[in-house]
């Protein structure tokens, strides 16, 4: 499906090129005939100019390759969601206390006072959405970050050194994978609450989902590293004097990071939704406002008050879409071979 998308992007570019064909012909003529008019003693200056041109305009530059329509759309969506998470007090029409207060007008239609309608106890849907962004992102992003960082480090080390270290690490990961995710999350959260003698806090949820993601990412990267470490350029790096860690993280990692980026963008949505599962089972702070929780609480009124569950779902969709487009663009920009330069 992703291949398809890349193909479509290329097709769009081609149509644009067709439109600019006259301009290109003129450009080509100027570019190729200028050599006739330039005296030989100026060739060096020309080479320098070409190099300067390549440095500024060339698509070899990361930023240049990052600029595509879909990537920019992704950046805008992510930016919007992050803005909601950072400045909810400025953006929301009501205060945080109002968002969990009790008012008349339960399950009311959208109106000028409540642009997206109200949910149970007359709480404003828009306000809850904007405050929910913070919780959702605060749980999803650090959890993913933790899984990716730990998973990548563990996976690369296991695959690179091989032998008994690989066997031990991978069996441990298999044990973690053997349990159903939600049950293991419950175990982790209750262990943390016992350990620190507090109620369920958002940090524990974060940590639990972070640890749960580790085996997936380490497995994912291990296969690619096993393949990449046998390639001649790794031997060449060793001959050039690179140590084990430099080879692992500077030579191998850029070549195997692609599948990780893809699955990160898919996983963000999964974690946002999984918060709902936890609070449904009572393993969450009931005062927390988050999108997944919103959907699970309001789905029983789906027919008479669809706005209450539809809009949180729509926001999850938007943020997942934003991260996916961003990840896609990032993957393309990181692979110098993908675009014609």
């Amino acid at each position: 499906m992703l291949e398809q998308e890349v193909y479509e992007i290329k097709e769009e570019d081609e149509i644009k090129k067709l439109g600019l064909i006259t301009k290109n012909i003129i450009k080509w003529v100027i570019n190729n005939l200028k050599f006739i008019f330039i005296p030989a003693y100026k060739l060096n200056a020309l080479v320098e100019k070409e190099e300067k041109h390549e440095r500024t305009v060339s698509k070899r530059k990361f930023i240049r390759r990052f600029k595509s329509f879909l990537t920019i759309l992704g950046i805008i969506l992510v930016f919007a969601v992050v803005t909601m998470a950072v400045f909810p007090h400025w953006l929301a029409p009501y205060t945080e206390a109002d968002a969990s207060g009790v008012f008349p007008g339960t399950w009311a239609n959208p109106s000028p006072e409540h642009p997206l309608g109200t949910t149970s106890f007359g709480r404003d849907v828009l306000t809850r959405l904007i405050f929910g962004a913070r919780t959702s992102l605060i749980v999803a992003l650090p959890a993913i970050g933790l899984s990716v960082i730990l998973g990548v480090i563990i996976g690369i080390i296991a695959a690179f050194y091989g032998g008994w270290l690989d066997t031990v690490i991978m069996r441990l990961m298999d044990i973690l994978l053997a349990f159903p995710g939600l049950i293991l999350a419950l175990v982790f959260i209750s262990v943390f609450t016992d350990l620190f003698k507090t109620d369920v806090r958002i940090e524990y949820i974060m940590l639990a989902w972070g640890i749960l993601g580790v085996p997936f990412y380490s497995r994912l990267i291990r296969g690619s590293v096993l393949q990449a470490k046998e390639l001649p350029y790794i031997q060449a790096a060793r001959v050039a004097g690179a140590g084990n860690f430099r080879i692992m993280f500077k030579h191998i990692l850029p070549n195997v990071i692609q599948p990780i980026i893809i699955s990160v963008t898919f996983d963000i949505g999964g974690i946002i939704l999984s918060l709902a599962g936890l609070s449904f089972l009572g393993f969450s702070d009931p005062q927390l406002i988050d999108w997944g929780n919103e959907i699970s609480r309001t789905r029983e009124r789906l027919y008479d008050a669809p706005w209450a569950s539809l809009f949180p779902g729509f926001f999850i969709l938007l943020s997942v879409l934003g991260f996916m487009l961003l990840g896609d663009g990032l993957r393309d920009a990181l692979d110098p071979r993908l675009r014609d330069l």
Binding site: R55, V239, A240, R337
Partner: protein, 362 residues
Amino acid sequence: MTISKEAIKHEAEGVEQLDDDIILSVRNLKTYYPILGGFFKRTIGQVRAVDGVSFDLKKRETIGLVGESGCGKTTIANTLLKLVDATEGKIIYQGKTIIEANKKRDYKNNIRKEIQMVFQDPDASLNPRWKVVDIIGEPLRLLEGLSKRRKIRKRVWELLKTVSLKREHLDRYPHEFSGGQKQRIVIARALACNPKIIILDEPTSALDVSVQAQILNLLKRLQDEFDLSYLFITHDLSVVHHIADKIKVMYLGKFVEEGTIDDIFTNPSHPYTRALLSARPTFDPAIRKERIILEGDVPSPINPPTGCPFHPRCPSKEEHEGCGVDKPRHIKIEGGSDEHYIFCLPFTEGEKSYEGWQFISD
């Protein structure tokens, strides 16, 4: 081959007598790869990739290492660069033992700087995510200790000029180059730290013939310019004829014949070398050579044949004595240069002997 009788005697006593001219000498090198198996990944066998090899490399000399696929040529290169560990024997660089089996020796950056390698497949030996300036700058950064970006760029530009590439190639990625250009980049990387020895592992086999000639001439020019010694690994006999001074012919982890270019091409004495040379394509259809076609396959290096490793396929094994029993002897062939040796066994009948042969070792 410069091991005189005295040198071999001394070697047996553990004394090294080396010319000043000799830059690298390999003594009785054996490299076995373990075969792991079973639940606990124990060693259940060994692949004898290199099985007792000795040679000397002089300054500004090119040694061609010839043999069919899987005979251990590349393993010799990898052992020299400590990419794999030696099982037995030692390697001496400029009078200093750098690699010795079962002993921890310093193989630090100062030695890496002196011995560099050009790999077989230029496409695969360049990291696709790195720019050319970073690829060539890597040994400069790690081995020479250059840390300033501008200095590295300047030095890389100089290196690119020596291999006839241009300044604007600095910031490009490997996939933007043709095969010949990629091999030039690989050569530039090998040259980065002014090495004394470059090991060339089939540098031309992935290229087409016109580019092969360019690369070979470039290598010759660089040898004159920087006083390099080459260990040239190949299976292409015409390439080796063009570039090498001396040839070592390998079969199943062992040398079978060694000598100068003229020795090997005019007077091939070992049956394997003769078969190898007769298999060479010729351009003159009038010459109808008798092709020597060897029977069977290369035996497995896991379980090599007893005695001479070549004897099951040898076309003249009936004429020799004890092929499957005795180890081949180091036999000097007179008539050519004084460095022409084969590893074979004596004839059964006295009068069929090699002209003026003499045994050097048993």
